[in-house]
Amino acid sequence: MVSKKDLNRIEEYLWEIPADYRSDMRVPARIYADNDLLEAALQDRSVEQLINTACLPGVVKYTLAMPDIHQGYGPPIGGVAAMNVKDGVVSPGAVGYDINCGVRLLRTNLEAERVKPLMAEIMDALYHGVPSGVGRGGDVRVSGKDMDDVLEQGAAWAVKKGYGTKEDLEHTEEQGSLAGARASAVSRKAKDRGNDQLGTLGSGNHFIEVGEVVEVYDQEVAEKFGVFLGQLVVWIHSGSRGLGHQVCDDYIKRMQGSLSKYGIRLPDRELVCAPVDSPEGQDYMAAMACAANYAWANRQLLMHRVRTILDQVLAPHFKGRSFELIYDVAHNIAKIEEFTINGRTIKVVVHRKGATRSFGPGHPALPADYRSVGQPVLVPGDMGTASYLLVGTAEAADKSFASTCHGAGRVLSRHAVMKQVRGEELQQRLAQQGITIRGPMKGLAEEAPEAYKDIDRVVHVVHEAGLARKVAKMVPLGVMKG
């Protein structure tokens, strides 16, 4: 096991395991954390997993862990690794099964205080109206040509079909459509799994949350993002559902068979990979883009449903309601991006597994209305504490391949938390805090606040380290669990 003495402290919130710590490491491994978060990370196998990713062919500069790091499979959750597209690899396991699991945040023109008395009604309507849970299909079925269009166009397909607006696409990472998607790279099995799951939330840690802005740290940026103190906001967290899981599975299987062809040796088989510039690598990138697009179409449909439901419930009480998308981010994805390393600009595949892109001011990928301040970074917390809206920084490009944290990060296993917490008790406890919860009782306990790290601390680290800056803090009023 890695211990604290193996790490060098580089900055107040940055630690490094040098490349000579293990003979198979190609680059150092870096961890952004304070003392306590680092101690927590050293309790499980997450740091060892980070070291394993530092052994992958073509990895550049260093691999990184965000302060919400915790143990996953393959790389840790909260891990970032960038590989040179010329001589590096792409790894499906380093993206994960839920390709483009991500989150979107909506702003309303409503004051939360005035909506609070309606919270039970709102959460009931969402729980009944949004398909969620295991094995529940949605009511938008796609197959054949329509499926191929979803896979190649993403959220743009949904908007064309009338589920949202052009502005929604502008406020989505990659405009909700990742380049290079090729539907023929996606298996029949994956498409089968996807044909009735569009517009469904899923289960596990996926949720819809109605919240209130309780603190604004940066007035100027908050105004750009249309955020004000006391505002009612809505979070949606979901991914690519069974289709994405199947794409990951298909390519892990295929690449297990091609490892010897490329002479790749791995410390962990789940990090199976193929050269970016190989048929296996290219096909995975094309299929992963399809799954990412499916996820963006999914969140677009979910948002459309949420808007419709909220509008119906609130119509008798408020005039002129608006529900606009602030932004949508992916936090499990591999993207080709350019970075300057030692004075040279190179193209890399940035694997973000439980990490959020954090582009700073002026980046050409940002929508015109946000470009002067930077990218909105969405960091949802657990159902009992808080979530944060941050903004990307220019320095994150150099420090972390423009990446930052994605949430609070688990600290207790699902099994351990189930032994401590009962769903019904949790629902009552949260109700006493003024938070209305809807969802299956069992799944609820798995996601109890005690299962997660202190999000205030996680966000403090990324803010102080310059990976993103705090803009506003939000607390939950109502949460629907998938």
Partner: protein, 145 residues
């Protein structure tokens, strides 16, 4: 692996181990066929309540290929997850009639989805090794949940 057993008992088919974010199951079998069948049973025991007592009117033939027993185990479990998700079925009985390092053929029996309690996104290779012991075989599998 330095995972701590949660409820060790003898002659069991599987046990759950602590894992921060995902699901870790240690599987036992007197021989490889039993190990593979028990792994499938363990996985569906996590997906649905009380599968020991469910009726199994639906039968499906499953054939998967691999490059060694570990890849065959992962491919077998992920094939069953595919069937579960695509067909909306839960399986409780696993009859493996052919097993080599490269191929597995089985008949699985189950029913339409019922008593579902959670989702599993995939069975992973992370730390996976099939180990021969005095009692037979064991393997620890991490699932993305």
């Amino acid at each position: 692996m330095t995972l701590n057993p949660i409820q060790p008992t003898s002659r069991q088919r599987y046990e759950q181990l602590e894992h921060t974010a995902d699901l870790a199951l240690r599987i036992y079998g007197q021989d490889l066929r039993e190990l593979f069948a028990n792994a499938a049973f363990a996985m569906f025991s996590q997906l649905a309540e009380d599968i020991e007592h469910m009726a199994t009117p639906i039968s499906r033939q499953v054939a998967v290929e691999g490059i060694d027993y570990e890849s065959l185990l992962v491919n077998w479990l992920n094939e069953l997850l595919y069937l579960h998700d695509a067909k909306r079925e839960i399986y409780a009985a696993f009859d493996i009639h052919e097993l080599s390092p490269y191929q597995l053929k089985a008949t699985v029996r189950g029913d339409r989805n019922q008593n579902i309690r959670s989702i599993i996104k995939g069975a992973t290779y992370h730390g996976l090794a099939i180990v021969q012991t005095a009692e037979g075989y064991t393997a620890t599998i991490i699932f993305d949940v």
